[in-house]
Every structure is written in structure tokens, then in C-alpha cells.
């Protein structure tokens, strides 16, 4: 197969999937393609996009990088944020507490990966159970109500059809991180260490420090996701992050990030995250069971992995 096409197989596939999905819906369920659906998709895609961007950067930086703990981090930072308020912290601290918890949980992953040299898959699978388990244990499985009104007001506000959290958090984060990747030396280092870690180390790049920072960043974005879940739902639910890691990983791979690192970007990741949510929303509105929705995402993940493997085999 043509080399250029092969390198760009995933973006091409992503476009094809978008066209196919929208085309099918327009032909069979045109009523779904409404501003209301747009709002709902962006609302659901807010948390997923944040998690997927964090996971995407961790994967691009290589070293078998992956962050399966994002869902657990979202749940636990939301729960800890509300427990902080319960313990007497003033309400306006809520975003900072969620963000801070996310950073700490991400740093914990990063330290296990970089200092102890444990495989990221193992580390983050372990912390996924640890964080989600803690969130459940701390709440006894129930929700913690009492999110401040200003937060809920912001979380449910819209600007036209666009949800406020998407405009004020996801878009800025996307612009900032894409700019960082494309315009700064840090972005080049992240790609370089994912592409050829040995070369990056010989060039004197602080590979372990960058990797640690990226796990912390992934945690930070998940922590923000936790705060957004509070502002949106009005309470902390210990299971809010369930399946986010599966969907985020699907978005990352479908978005053209090489699972082996060194290739891919956030434009693909976010557009794939939107596709995943669009697909799920459409299935939901058509009335297809949630079990099948998860199955469809899983199938998408498998396809993304296969195409990824094919387009990355060198030579």
C-alpha cells in the first residue's frame, strides 16, 4: 500500500467513520441531528475529551505509556472535593481541590512508573481499582449532595447550543495543549521520547521528568473532569468515571495516536472523542440498550487497535 496513505490510515478512517455515522443518521434518523443533540454530545464529551487528551499525551510519550486510572481519578477527585467541603472548606475551593487531587493521583502513577520502573499498564490498572474502590468506600456507594449553586449554575449553563464547561475548560485546554505540542520544545521532547527513547536520553532530554509531568497532567485533567461532573450533576457520584478509560483509550487510538508512542496529536484525539460520544448518543436516542452501546465502543477500540498496528508496522 502507498506509504503516505498507510501513515495516514487512522485519520482517513476517522473521517470515513464521521461521514458514515452522520450520513447514516441523516438518512435514517434525521431528527437526531438537532441542536439539542449537539448540546448533549458536547456535554457528555466534556469529561471524556479531558481524559482522552491526558491519556493521549501519556501514550504519545511512549515507554508503553497508558493511563487506565483516569476513570478512577475522576470519581475519587469528585468525591474528595465534596468531602473537603463537608470538612469545612469554603465552596470556592472546590475546583482547586478536585484539580489538586487529580494532580496528586497522577503524580502517584507517574512516580510508580518512572521511579520504580513498573509497566504503566500494570500501575494504572492497579490504581484504577485503588481509586475507584476508594471512591466507593468513602461514600458507601451513595452520592454526596451539596455542590454549591454557583458551580451547578456554571455546569449547566449554555452559550447557544454549547455547554459552558465545554467552552470554558475543554476548548482552552485543547488550544493550550495543542499549542504546547506544536510550538514549544516540550512538545518536540514528548514526540521524540515516544519515537526513540534511547535517542532522547542520549540527547540529554529529561525523559523521566517529562513522563512524570505527563501522568500528573493526565491526573489534573481527570481532576477537572471530576469537578465538571459535580457542577453538572449537582452531587459527587463514586461511579461517575466508570468506563471513561475504555472510551478515552478508544478515542486516543481512533484519533491516530500510535499505541507505541511518538506519533499522533490532540486534534485527532478530540475529534475521535466526539465521534465516540456521538455514536453512543445516537444509539441511546434510537433506543438501543446501554449494554450494546458499551459493546459498540469496545468494537471500535478493537478496530482502532488493528488499524493502529497495521499503519505503524515499519518498512
Amino acid at each position: 500500500m502507498n506509504h503516505a496513505l498507510r501513515r495516514n490510515l487512522v485519520p482517513v478512517m476517522l473521517c470515513v467513520l464521521w461521514v458514515a455515522l452522520l450520513g447514516t443518521l441523516a438518512a435514517t434518523h434525521a431528527w437526531i441531528l438537532s441542536p439539542r443533540t449537539l448540546t448533549s454530545v458536547l456535554q457528555f464529551a466534556t469529561i471524556l475529551s479531558l481524559a482522552a487528551m491526558g491519556m493521549g499525551l501519556v501514550v504519545i510519550a511512549g515507554g508503553a505509556g497508558i493511563d487506565l486510572s483516569v476513570g478512577g481519578t475522576i470519581s475519587l477527585s469528585a468525591v474528595l472535593g465534596m468531602m473537603g467541603l463537608g470538612a469545612g472548606l469554603p465552596g470556592y475551593w472546590l475546583p482547586m481541590v478536585c484539580l489538586g487531587c487529580g494532580v496528586m493521583l497522577g503524580l502517584f502513577n507517574g512516580l510508580l512508573v518512572t521511579r520504580l520502573g513498573i509497566l504503566p499498564l500494570i500501575v494504572t490498572l492497579g490504581t484504577f481499582y485503588l481509586f475507584s474502590g476508594l471512591a466507593l468506600a468513602l461514600t458507601g456507594g451513595g452520592a454526596i449532595a451539596g455542590v454549591p449553586d454557583w458551580a451547578v449554575g456554571w455546569g449547566r449553563a449554555r452559550w447557544g447550543a454549547l455547554p459552558m464547561p465545554f467552552i470554558t475548560v475543554v476548548l482552552p485546554a485543547f488550544v493550550l495543549l495543542s499549542g504546547l505540542m506544536a510550538l514549544t520544545s516540550w512538545g518536540r521532547w514528548i514526540v521524540a521520547m515516544g519515537d526513540n527513547e534511547r535517542a532522547a536520553r542520549l540527547a540529554g532530554l529529561p525523559v523521566d521528568r517529562v513522563r512524570l509531568m505527563l501522568y500528573a497532567l493526565s491526573g489534573a485533567l481527570a481532576g477537572l473532569g471530576g469537578f465538571i461532573s459535580l457542577a453538572w450533576l449537582g452531587s459527587a457520584r463514586p461511579n461517575i468515571g466508570v468506563n471513561v478509560e475504555l472510551e478515552a483509550l478508544t478515542a486516543v487510538l481512533l484519533g491516530g495516536v500510535a499505541i507505541t508512542g511518538g506519533r499522533g496529536g490532540l486534534v485527532g484525539v478530540v475529534s475521535a472523542a466526539l465521534l465516540v460520544v456521538m455514536l453512543r448518543t445516537a444509539l441511546l436516542q434510537i433506543g438501543i440498550n446501554t449494554v450494546w452501546q458499551t459493546g459498540a465502543i469496545g468494537a471500535l477500540l478493537v478496530v482502532a487497535l488493528l488499524v493502529n498496528r497495521f499503519s505503524n508496522s515499519r518498512g
Binding site: R188, N196, R198, A200, L202, G204
Partner: protein, 275 residues
Amino acid sequence: MAQLPALVDGVERLTDMMQAPPDAFVQARGIGKRFGALTALRDVDIDIRAGEVLALLGDNGAGKTTFVKVLAGAHVPSDGTLRIGGDTVRFASPRDAADHGVATIYQELALSENLKVAENIFLGHELVRPVLGVPFLDRAAMRARVRVLLGELDAHIPDIEAPVGSLSGGQRQAVAIARALNLDARLIIMDEPTAALAVAETRKVLNLTRRLAESGRAVVIVSHNIADVFEVADRMIVFRRGRKIAERKRAETDPDEIVALITGAHPDARVADQP
């Protein structure tokens, strides 16, 4: 009395040091490197001078790469001392070595295939315009500098925006050398630079090597190819089983003698064959 051999050894080393011409940029003395039970280098003394190409030869596993990695800061020696530019150094990382003007071009080229030519040349030393501490790349300045560097090397890379993965072996070698030049390296080490190259590209890389020495840099080249070595090197050092067994100026030797040293047929090679 047990200290006597050590003392004699020390005095010998001291006299060696005093006899070394003052201009030797690198003075390696008594360098040893062990990997667990395996001794990869034993008591190696080498001087490397500015403006000269020094070739390291030897059979596979003789210790050439290990020695070069000690110079490059990729291995910490188990024994011995290293003086570079008059300072006694102890490199903990390739970064330390680079800070002392040592640049290495490894056997398996250490380039990032998905990055562009300029991005590889500047990796870790990007030209930036910081805004609030964030290092924004100055791509125009880097491209301009890359053109100068490649021009200086007389290397032809038609598209410097191309990812390095799409370049030929010789072009990659030129990128790696341009990287070393850009870091203002005073010592440039090339480990088997022509091993994977076609004949025409080998010519170009050998020319580059001479050019680097003529510009006043010290060059160390590791090679298996005797003809290449005789074409570019001013001095040759032969390794065998982790020891330096011979040192010859090009004018004072010939390919047959060097081959005999490498294969162990030469009487001087015997030192390394004692247990």
C-alpha cells in the same frame, strides 16, 4: 611490600602523564570497565588530539564501543581517570559529556525518525523564544542554522522539512554530524559511521570526517574497514579483549600489520591473550 606494584604503576602513570604532549585534548588513563563478571576494558591509556582523526580498531567485542561510551558519558568507568580540555572529569550522563564538548554519533544512529531534520539537529538544545518561561520554538532561526551547518558539511538534503525516517543512510549520518557541529563539539566520536552505507555515501562521510579534523576538532572513528581507516586516520589504536594492544601513526604502519594486530597473529597481540 604488597604496595610496591601499585606504587610502580602509579609512578609509571605519572611519567606517562608528564610526557603526554600538552595539546592532547583528551587524556584517558588506566580506564577499566566491568559489567558484572565481564571485564570489557582493562587499563586503557589513550590521548586524543585536536585536529587529528584517531581510529579505534579491533575484533567484535574488543571493547571499542565501550571505550567510546566512557568518553561519551554513557558508561561510568570502573577504573581510571579522564581528563578533557585540562579538567579531570567524571561524566554521569551524555549531557555532562556534551557540556564538555564531547559529541557522539552512535553505531545505531540515535535519531528520532518522526521528527524533522532541524528538530533532530536541535533536539534538547532548541532555539527558543521563551514567553513566561514557556520555550516557544524559533523555527525560522533553526532552519537558517541548519542550512549553514549542512552547507559547511557540503551535505545535500533536498527537503529539510522531511522526517528523518525518510532519509538515506548517508543523509542521516550528515544529520547526526550536523547535530554534533551545532553543539560546538570539540571531540566528535563516530562509531562505525560507514557500516551501513553504500560506496558513494561512504566517500562523503569520510570526507566529512577529514573536514571535521581540519576545522580543528578532535575526531575518533571506530571502524572495521581497514581501507577506510587508512584513508582518513592520522593515528590508529588496536583493541583486543578489552586492552589497548597497539598504537601506530599511519605513516609508520601498513594494512597488513594492522590486520595482524586485529586478528591476533601479530606478536604484540599476545599481551591480551594472557589470562
